[in-house]
Symmetry: C2
Amino acid sequence: MPKVIGFKTTDVRFPTSRGLDGSDAMNQDPDYSAAYLELKTDDPNLSGYGLVFTIGRGNDLQCAAIDLLATYAVGREVSDLAKSMGDFAKSLVRDSQMRWLGPEKGLTHMAAGAVINAAWDLVCKVSGKPLWKHLSDLSPQELVDLVDFRYISDAITPSEALEILTKAQANRVKNEASLIANGLPAYTTTPGWLGYADEKMIRLAKQAVADGFKLIKLKCGVSLEDDKRRLKLAREAIGPDVKLAIDANQVWDVNEAINWINALGDVNLHWVEEPTNPDDAVGHAAIAKAIAPVKVATGEHVTNRIIFKQMMQSKSLSFVQIDASRVAGVNENIAIILMAAKFGLPVCPHAGGVGLCEMVQHLAMFDYVAVGGENPDRVVEFVDHLHEHFVVPTEIENARYMPPLKAGAGAQMFDKSVSDFTYPNGPEWIGQI
Amino acid sequence: MPKVIGFKTTDVRFPTSRGLDGSDAMNQDPDYSAAYLELKTDDPNLSGYGLVFTIGRGNDLQCAAIDLLATYAVGREVSDLAKSMGDFAKSLVRDSQMRWLGPEKGLTHMAAGAVINAAWDLVCKVSGKPLWKHLSDLSPQELVDLVDFRYISDAITPSEALEILTKAQANRVKNEASLIANGLPAYTTTPGWLGYADEKMIRLAKQAVADGFKLIKLKCGVSLEDDKRRLKLAREAIGPDVKLAIDANQVWDVNEAINWINALGDVNLHWVEEPTNPDDAVGHAAIAKAIAPVKVATGEHVTNRIIFKQMMQSKSLSFVQIDASRVAGVNENIAIILMAAKFGLPVCPHAGGVGLCEMVQHLAMFDYVAVGGENPDRVVEFVDHLHEHFVVPTEIENARYMPPLKAGAGAQMFDKSVSDFTYPNGPEWIGQI
């Protein structure tokens, strides 16, 4: 009967701004970071891990926010948590005083997500399953009980969710077998960072195709002429059959996005990602209408299920890019996945950063096995960066995410990585600041 | 040439949860609090003050967020700030690493607001004017330069804003004289807290009418039967001519709100406030349509100009309830006020809390004098609570906000109040926790 007896947060930062990896039109100098949480139990061999991915300054504040909410886990038996993860998640999100600081958005909301995800890591380690499998093995009613339907019941009711999940049960075993054999398709942003010269982009794009990727993505949005040139070069490099997407990282206003995208010429774009502010469901809807047949993808900065709901209701997006650490953890992502199923939209997770691939793959796999099932448009972002720090790193084979089989939810890092990159006093930072 | 040389944040909390003042359906036990910022200058007699209103837990975190952003002010000459408050505000909101923690929402966004407002306090103290007057005396172009049009240019362009402001110049002198003579109408929530027994509510409602208030507001949303009874009693107490509004503080889902409001019976409601989640522009639009002719008011938790924009575009609200400390300070509130003018909507500020009346009155007065002009629907919330702690407390005469004439932006508290209520080690808290 292990029990949570304490926790520790660590400000972990990787000095990625020293190179230009991760650079884009909005984020010029990110230091990829993790506000990293360990929930400790009375079993010295059992801890649960969660994290919030940030890009540097404020990561200490993110840790402090997690400290405030992690207290909710202390004293709880893991077996009790396992039976009540829906209520546990709600208790964090609904803290009547902390709620004022959001509500349900930004730093405090992401903190709730880290605690919830760390609790899931514990629950999965005790059940002996990877998160995707643990979730897929829950009954439809148990899954419904995980979701906070507050503010989304005009889009999906508990009984509609139950119906979707019950229907999906028919293919669960088949899908799981297929997942284990074949994994899920990944796509790559590795060639596309804005800081890369054309030659490097072309070389990496060709490499991506050789590695089996069917979709590559380029950052865009600083210069229209650069974008046109880069897209043309990329299309030539990858040929007509590989999909090509672009990512503006929110740099445009609504009308600017429409004009820019429509001026790119015909390079057969698969999607345009984050054309404008992530809060702007109405603006995304206007963009989606004006750039059709080019489609909109967004979500990595969509702060909660309520904004996602509006985007689905307003036909603002065609690809739902959930993120493992932006919303209130696994539970809120299940709500979003269920809404996507209701609206018939593919879930194409955002990843990269620190640990986002490791965490979000579980949600994509759960979606595949037990919710959305087969969908030719489901694809999971992959950036080949920083995986060496994770105890269960992503495994990509033939450009496909292979399912992790070890127990847990994915956020656990090696102790040495955590201590080496602790900011500002870890050995990798000493003397560098 | 005073210059900012440092800053200090203080976690100030008033133990309001010991009574039930401030209780509503969502916020059961608030401790009205302020994350309080002093920007210090090299002139020992000159400091600028800003604050974020919170309701207790997390106020320390809010202070820490302000600490991170207040560094932007250090080293700046006040005269330089006075000339570049638009750029200064943008620099805080757009910090490329901190932005990840929002973007432009929640704790970090409110922190930016506190720093921006404290800088405005300095600028006004140096100009020798209260904020409302300082802003009203700026030229239309200077005002336009204060606004970040990013993400709202599909609703209002700089040239449209300039046109609105230029047109308003014609009545500026007349409006200012009228403001100084007559103030602006207030409304009161004092009778309506959910924790109050019917008799207390009735007594306070009658008192409010006797005091000259033309609009009172009751909290609602816990029990439909209670709401029906309380509204009937309140209507009887205040008579047919005083306006009656209700405030649900986000407790309902969209369809629940519609059903509840339509079941209240005909008590001639002036508005329903915060019927559902503040992020839900689409949901508010559905509610507004379904409950007409009853109208929707919202805004105190609307996190930025982008959500306000969507609400205006979607006809989600009829009354724009700006808040002094929710968005990124005076500058973002000017953006919202300009959009309201463009869409022909009255700005009816949210207040109460700690210092919100003191701060937001300046914005309502600026709106009246130099933007929106005469509007019979403009009314500013007033709660008679905690004003004694402010150096320039609100002055209500005949239920009207009289304009403050002292220099500053309103957030400065008495040193003794700050130290007495410092959490957790001030004398008012010692031994109480």
